[in-house]
Amino acid sequence: MSLISQLESFLFISNRPLTVRRLAELVGTGEEAVEAALADLREKTNGEERGVQLVSVGNAYQFATRGEYAKLIAAFVKEELVGEMTRPQLETLTIIAYRGPVAKSELERIRGVNCSLILRNLMIRGLVETVDGQDDAHDPMARLLVRYQVTHDFVRFLGLTSVEQLPEYEQLSKHEFLEAMKQQGEKFSNAVISE
């Protein structure tokens, strides 16, 4: 039994994205081994002319059909393609896609406007989700900050396999100025809390 083929079978049968942690539990092996195998599986699947591709967001994976067959498949599953999106929604999604997982405060600093309502609507549409801050258990401040990321649904809407395929992903996700802003933001929220 190869690890890759086991992972493929779980991902194939599942109707929702599976995290590395869950997959590791299922196959009874360490998360690192699973990650390495997933990287392999991804390369094999997405690199070739396959009808399915492996889509990843954060550390969760899911198989989905190839984007260019959207019309054919939509007719088959009798599902309408996505509804329309407003400019503010697109703008917010863009920032979350490039910067996710991102705290609401950072999002609002970039857009310069309160984003509560729009975040709520995007979550209801299933395009944005919160990330558990469990990994930041050592930092109580970070735990307080809920962070948001785009969902597999969103990545699949665009026919991508990962947000990293977005144009200029490197620059926009690691924009040095944004890092500076982030630090200022943290200073600011510390100040607010200590008041």
Partner: protein, 248 residues
Amino acid sequence: MDVASQKKIDIKLETFEGPLDLLLQLIERDKLPITEVAIARVTEQYLKVLRETEGGMHPEVLADFLVVAAKLLLYKSRALFPHLNVAETEGESLEEQLKLYKRFVDASRVIEKLFHKRQYSFAREHLGGRAEGVFAPPIHLKTDRMHTIMLQVLKSLEPVVKVPKTVIKQMFSLRDTIRRIEQLLANQVQMQFGALLNGAQNRTEIVVTFLALLELVKQRTVVVKQEGMFEEMTVMKMTNDQTPMTNQ
């Protein structure tokens, strides 16, 4: 403000999403690069649009517009009161903020294009394997637990349903502030800037008051005098012949 740019205010008021968006639209409409000079140039138009739309704005959104207005005024006040040593506010400059914002706006156009290509990639809706006719209740669930859960759900709705009253309380509109200053001036003719701020509760209100004051200066209803760099500012009402009235 020059007449030419005043004529051009025909921006559709419903179409901007936030203060940065409005600012960017104003700058791009004038085909200006994002610089401090360009930002200063569109300040008047920004304030005009804000005045015309603030009534319909959610208080939290209005607050965001005012934060940007305050930054705009920082630029503006350097010109208006050269003797006033206006310190940089904390945080990034509006210019940097706007440049970054624009990068994401541009990126969102690319995403919009991708979106319209409709290359939707479908995932399985149903779990593989048969599972029909099962009844699998949550074994330990009792009605009192459901009661507790329901109460928690309702509690979590409270902030969504009730518009945050504290925010409304904190905020008061630009227009109101302008009126307040006008009334104060009607009675006292000359007053200290500090007195105007007596009623201000927080930074936002101070900013709003300052903003309103500058508006009045611009409309030539008041004159602001400051004796020395760190002295109290004095606000004086203008008489019709446009000379400051004094108590002498």
